[in-house]
Symmetry: C2
Subunit: 945 residues, 2 copies
């Protein structure tokens, strides 16, 4: 008997053509007919009509909002439906996150938020058993690894390369075990993965939603529209055909799609009839059985089949849904939003940490009600696969930014409360949100002010503070009152200044520096080495104790980089180019757009073959300012002690007056013999090897030599010849590739004139005249075997950079009885370098969520043994609270690790060890390479803060 | 306090852009999103959610079908909702019938069918109290009269002339008492009539249906979409403004529209909020109260206001929704369908009568299961305001015809059973459905055959039978075996023949004639007076003992008519013309279309100024064949004894190769001094006076001198100078007018190239090359004071013409024990000429529905006193059954007349007498002029058939 599992579902984008609120309420239905409040109303009442009906719901951002608007009676009805399995949650994240442009930390946060709602509301009845990423545009290996660590039994998705899908259908490999980590021991990161038959849509002709126009069942033979017999025959044929691509006698059909089930009765009424009429055919010998099911139920049946499954070890990028149709544009779309998201991740972690470190005083304090929840929710929303991906409409992108900004506010209050509590100074704290464009009214006007620098890392950092100031000389004092060196430098092509000084901040703590204008003094023209001219024949060089960078004196372009510590020299030519976005051509009508990258030609054009340069050398910084064009410039920078070269690029607004859409890249060309290989991170964690014009699991027919070799770069990309490694760290997600040996390119900005026909219905023009985007690439040159230590630790510093908070200073003491503090650490001892404090966040009144991560992969660092397992004692680790109880949970903290079980699958590579329940026996924790361990700690805050 | 009655409703066309079945099931939702099954599912479940919610449903064709598909449990739930008044029926006809192109008999039948379903299903709980014609395109006075006689308390509609509406709003005459009969004594035909504020749509911005895109309520002030406050203010303003056009402190808002409430939750959820939020404003001093209501509840409040209302005595035709936009095209659209509907009415009455006369043997007999219900339902569907009106899409019009054709089948079985039962002959009965195009295989091939002619009138008729035959001579014998005169004539412009003989058929009975081919004999060229040539100078005349008609020998056109009995001579020029349909012009973009008539110029063009003629004179017929063009011809005909001139026109396919849409009229021009006046019937019953470029209740600004003077002609139009009256009877509904004194025109056919933008979205081109339409105009010339006797009785014969059934003859006797009958009457005595047997139909196993009508108006016939009250005794009136009990009901037979009460309204012309309950005391029935009396009779069929 062939069993057809009908999965009734709706796919509710948390923003896309409409904002989250517009989708929830059903506003602007002329733009897209979609109203989630009605969907949930309708599904619940339809489930009540007939007990065999089942439905899955996915997006908790919507569900939780709806839930809070229901009466107690309705809530009780829903609890019953969940208890009875008639309403089942799948995935259960706040959103269905993007997998290409997301950082693993933010993925874990958003999954934790959604799953926690379900756990709090429905207990284990509401806990999803399967991950359900039916729409994201390609699938990362890290995502699968995280899902495995969250305890999911399996994973369903819809989109994969069309060539890949064809091969899988033929080879019966639509379902496999995905081994999603090269470091974690199987089956820790093994995830059973099922490719759905029709993305996530119903079979043709069987869509009975208000949004479809398929013919409903007409059972009355006297009606001229009678079709029941014909439809049943059609369905039987369809089921048989589909079963030929799958291994077992169970198949699944997704009965739903985007924002469907607003009138669930239409769907269910016809599905009821389908089930009844098709199963009635069994009396006539039919061997097809249809049933209402869920992915978890289907998965359970697959598991019972007790088969051996092939194993996949790479990922599902890039995604192409046809020749010339590579969804590699969204890796870079909306770079400003992508950066704002990453910066907000940073700020949220600071907010979370200070909420824990300061205890309840962080929430209720002199500055009002401090709250991390709004930013936490906003950040979760941003992970949606049309948010950080850059694939929403413009007004929706604006609303995402609004949500982030709205989330920052309560966190700023929280930070103020916490800093007052921890420092003892009740200052008028100021948060300069526009430091990226050198705007900060306080530092630009005050004669003296105070700079609190908070470091969210588990280790001390030294960090160059840069603040916009007026044309004065300033005296900077460290937390002990000692004057530290400072400098005022002029910004490129402007009359504005920034004050520079190096701050040293303890682990998980802050240092307070004070800045005072020196009356009467104007900053000297002490940028002695400035050159305001076209590059001459003199050699242009910047260097510090670790790095030297050379520039071609004729072109002003970077031409060489040297690692002075390791005596490595590498000629590196860096320049900006742009691809002309295709508007469609003879080969394919596909245009480049928000999703799709398709250059009209393989070779990009130089923005400029040379740059007007300006050299700045002071004791605290060396910079080459490169001006390529009116819309493209760069500062190449070295601070003392820095082991990387910083390239701060500014691109935009991209001109499109010539009617050419442009996709701008920064490209590094070297002579390294890289043999077609390059390496990109997966969601900021593990590294995947990429090979040009190649896919590990099928014989690629490459139709787009540029776009078809692009991969998501969340945090880093590198190339190596086995000896030298050139790594570029990014400050946000970007698309990147290596299109010829020795080359690395990253797409920094794109502006397009045509929609790419994937639904968004707008060209990626961005508001008005386009956006001006600034970002940083950190370039590291290292020996291959020791490169990881450099890029891992630097990347950690980038994603959790120090937070600067300003104040006028001289505020009243907050705790008159206690001496104020200008320096503070939340840790009693620093964490070892291989350990990353991934999460420290308030969970409950006396509970804290703690995640510790080994941030090195197996074998990645041979030199300093950073890839070795590391043990640390959590006892008394934190300075402001003591841990009274510690429970280990799965990654999303929604079940105790000791209680968690997953379905076991047998890979064809041999069985994996059965791991016995994991009981925490002490606070002495060992982390294996790439392991994340998640704890819920009962804590007690200390009296003396 | 201003009370705003929200009436939640859906308007479900019984066919329009989709067929009835497509609408019911929700098929072809890409054409129009509409699925009635879902609407009813959805409304029922939404009503259950909140007990204050109310909803009205209207179209019983849909509701009854839905009802039969429900489980007992759902039916019980619905019964409860109806009992509690949460679901209320309005109107309650099978459909919401058209008022312009419908015959009163068919209106009564369709209302009876729908109301009976409600009475049988819900008892008096389900009985509608108001008539609800929110969409029909203008309103007839007869419709209002019928509604009053059905017992409705009031009438709501939406569409009236834009000038009329403006005046009414200003004068507070949106609500009035409509005195809908000039004959019936008030308040018998008085109907309180309310014009809805916005046709039948919700106010702007307040449409919360799945088909709308209005913004739903957002009550959460933290949402960027928060709008609750603003919406409440908007609503308060709206209510206040609307109340200024109505008399009481109650107003009504129609919250719904076409096929809305498919997802009722969307509507109700927002209406709940509206009511709650608006009424909450009362605490802040607001004087507006909103409530879920129904039209009946609103009407009740109006009645309680105890005001005096102005009185209307004319009708609401023609309807214009703007300058140049007269909905007078649909009076004539799809003339073939209009005729098929009228013919089916005739056949259904025959079927109903024979079902009663033959008793149960009609249903179960030798020919299978005979059933009048399918044709009854199909006819009811045809009354829908997009069906017989001709305003549906082509494929829907085809489906209407299919439904009629499907309905004829079971009636043919019934007729066969009944005729066998009543005649005693078990013949192989044949129904020639294509006699209109002279096709009947049996009569055309058989050497001998038998012709049964059934007469559905209450009086004997003499009728000229015409049957297509082969080229032979035939011998025709009457029921007594006596040979009667017969003739074979050649049809115009063809080689085909028809056999003619005059049959005499008793009241409500049949005569069987036999026809035998005379072997060897060919019909002689006995059309001795035939002229096959262009009209010469000889005078062309046809005449019988009553009428003489003269034709111009040069043009071949009719030029004079003479009533020989009354010595009246009237020069009458008759010819065909066509208006060029406007495609829109500088004055207005309005094109002529299915709904709208708009000629591009006032003067129509002659189809031809002369006709090729052919004269046929035999003992049984005199005909002038006029051939005007390839697509327009006419036979002008006189049979012996006939008091009217018959003009059988054939028009079509109308050529549109010149890209000109054409609207073809037949025009009669006389010198009668008619002073701008002419007269048209209202739904085939009472007569309304029309005056050119004039409306009785407002100062008309005439924008279309032709279309703005068109009125519906259901059965007749006449002009008179006070002495002579020229009457034209039609065989179907047509548009007609008198555009200059002494002139009458009727639109016989139209074919258009542009849609008129009223939603149907198709030009009225009709399938393929267009349709060929044949019809008859009967022209009567009489003295004005005695004209009614002529046209009333002739019109009765037209609408209930004899039915011809053929058989080969020689069938086996059906009741061997009883002698067969060749002649039969169902009546023991003929009805007086002023009495029309409107309905004789089976109601239950031993119950019969009987309607008797006085078919003359007050003062209409002075000569023969046909306008006098008439009394007749029903005792033993019928020959095949006896009436054992007689109960009088209201017109639609859904309540006993003795129990029926209606709300009383005080007209400003003075109070009307309160009529005490009407108890039937004997079977001696008196009919007042234009009175219809309806009875349910318990009957007992006699043993001897």
């Amino acid at each position: 008997m062939l069993n057809v599992h009908l999965v009734a579902h709706t796919h509710d984008d948390v923003g896309w053509l409409k904002t989250v609120d517009q989708y929830f309420y059903g506003i602007q239905n002329d733009v897209q007919h979609a109203g989630v409040q009605y969907i949930l109303d309708s599904v619940i009442s339809s489930l009540l009509v007939e007990p065999t009906r089942r439905f899955i719901y996915v997006e908790i951002a919507f569900f939780s909002r709806w839930w809070h608007q229901q009466t107690n009676a309705t809530q009780e009805i829903v609890r019953n439906l969940v208890r009875q399995g008639r309403l089942e949650f799948a995935n259960g994240g706040w959103v269905m996150n993007d997998e290409a442009a997301t950082h693993y930390g933010a993925i874990i946060d958003q999954m934790t938020l959604g799953l926690r709602f379900l756990e709090d509301t429905f207990g284990s009845d509401g806990r999803p058993h399967v991950a359900w990423h039916i729409d994201p545009f390609g699938h990362s290996r890290e995502q699968a690894s995280l899902f495995a660590q969250m305890g999911f039994d399996g994973f369903f998705f819809g989109r994969l390369d069309y060539q890949d899908k064809k091969v899988r259908k033929k080879n019966l490999e639509m379902e496999q075990v995905w081994r999603a980590s090269a470091s974690l021991k199987p089956p820790a990161a093994d995830l059973f993965t099922s490719v759905l038959p029709n993305i996530y849509n119903p079979p043709e002709k069987l869509c009975w939603d208000v949004l479809c126009a398929d013919t409903p069942f007409v059972e009355d033979p006297s009606s001229p529209e009678y079709n029941a017999k014909e439809l049943v025959q059609y369905f039987l044929q369809l089921a048989t055909t589909q079963s030929q691509s799958y291994c077992t006698n169970h198949i699944v059909m997704t009965m739903g799609s985007d924002f469907q089930y607003e009138n669930a009765n239409m769907w269910f009424k016809n599905l009821d009839k389908l089930i009844q009429l098709v199963n009635a055919q069994q009396a006539n010998g039919s061997r097809v059985n249809v049933l209402y099911s869920t992915p978890a139920c289907y998965l359970w049946e697959l598991n019972k089949a007790n088969l051996t499954w092939s194993v996949k070890e790479d990922d599902f990028f890039p995604y192409a849904d046809g020749p010339h149709m590579f969804w590699t544009g969204f890796f870079s779309s909306r770079p400003a939003l992508k950066r704002y998201e990453r910066l907000s991740y940073n700020f949220l972690q600071v907010c979370n940490q200070l909420e824990v470190l300061a205890g309840p005083a962080a929430n209720v304090g002199p500055y009002g009600y401090g709250d991390s929840a709004p930013l936490n929710e906003a950040m979760a929303v941003l992970q949606h696969h049309d948010a950080v991906s850059g694939t929403s409409r413009q007004h929706v992108a604006n609303d995402y930014a609004r949500q982030l900004a709205a989330g920052w506010g309560p966190c700023e209050v929280l930070l103020s409360n916490a800093l007052a509590q921890l420092s003892g100074f009740k200052e008028d704290f100021t948060f300069c949100r526009e430091l990226n464009i050198s705007v900060c009214p306080l530092s630009q006007t005050a004669k003296s002010f105070q700079v609190t620098i908070y470091n969210p890392l588990g280790r001390k950092v030294d960090w160059m503070v840069r603040l916009p100031v007026s044309k004065h000389v300033f005296l900077v004092r460290d937390p002990n009152g000692t004057t530290v060196p400072s400098d005022v430098v002029t910004l490129p092509s402007s009359d504005s200044q920034e004050l520079l000084f190096s701050a040293s901040v303890p682990a998980l703590g802050f240092s307070i520096y004070s800045v005072t204008q020196v009356p009467g003094q104007r900053p000297q023209a002490h940028n002695l080495h400035s050159i305001f001219q076209k590059p001459s024949s003199r050699v242009l060089v910047i260097q510090n104790e670790h790095i030297r960078a050379k520039f071609d004196p004729d072109t002003g372009l970077l031409v060489e980089m040297e690692n002075l510590d390791q005596n490595l020299v590498l000629p590196v030519h860096q320049a900006f180019y742009w691809y002309n976005a295709s508007m469609g051509d003879n080969q394919s009508s596909q245009a480049s757009g928000a999703y799709i990258f398709r250059p009209s030609r393989q070779k990009p054009l130089l923005v400029s073959g040379w740059a007007q340069t300006h050299l700045v050398k002071t004791a605290l910084v060396q910079e080459v300012h490169q001006n390529f064009s009116a819309w493209c410039s760069q500062v190449v920078r070295l601070y003392p002690g820095q082991r990387h070269l910083e390239l701060e690029w500014t691109v935009g607004p991209i001109p499109v007056g010539d009617d050419w859409g442009k996709e701008v890249i920064s490209r590094f060309d070297t002579a390294l013999e890289t043999k077609g290989l390059f390496y990109t991170d997966s969601n900021g964690r593990e590294i995947l090897e990429r090979r040009r014009d190649y896919r590990p699991t099928w014989n690629l027919n490459q139709t787009e030599p540029v776009a078809g070799n692009y991969y998501p770069v969340n945090s880093r990309i590198y190339i190596t010849d086995g000896h030298k490694q050139l790594t570029v760290l990014t400050d946000r997600s970007q698309g990147g590739s290596s299109l010829s040996d020795g080359s690395i390119e990253l797409m920094v900005h794109r502006r397009l004139l045509k929609d790419d026909a994937r639904g968004v219905g707008e060209p990626l023009l961005e508001a008005g005249s386009g956006l001006w985007v600034r970002g940083r690439h950190l370039v590291l040159l290292d020996k291959a075997q020791s490169a990881a230590a450099g890029h891992r630790l630097q990347a950690e510093k980038e994603v959790l950079a120090p937070q600067v908070v300003l104040a006028r200073g001289g505020g009243a003491p907050y705790h008159p009885e206690v001496a104020p503090r200008t320096q503070f650490s939340g840790l009693r001892r620093e964490l070892p370098p291989s350990v990353h404090l991934l999460t420290l966040a308030r969970w409950g009144p006396n509970t804290v969520l703690l995640r510790l991560e080994h941030q090195f992969a197996v074998g990645e660092d041979s030199g300093r043994c950073l890839s070795s397992p590391v043990t640390l004692d959590l006892t008394d680790l934190f300075s402001t609270f003591t841990i009274t109880n510690l429970q280990e949970t799965t990654l999303a903290a929604n079940q105790l690790r000791a209680h968690a079980t997953r379905l076991r699958w047998t890979p064809n590579t041999g069985p994996t060890p059965h791991r016995s329940p994991h009981w925490l026996v002490s606070a002495n924790i060992t982390l294996q390479p790439m392991e994340i361990r998640t704890f819920l700690a009962s804590v007690q805050w200390k009296e003396d803060r």
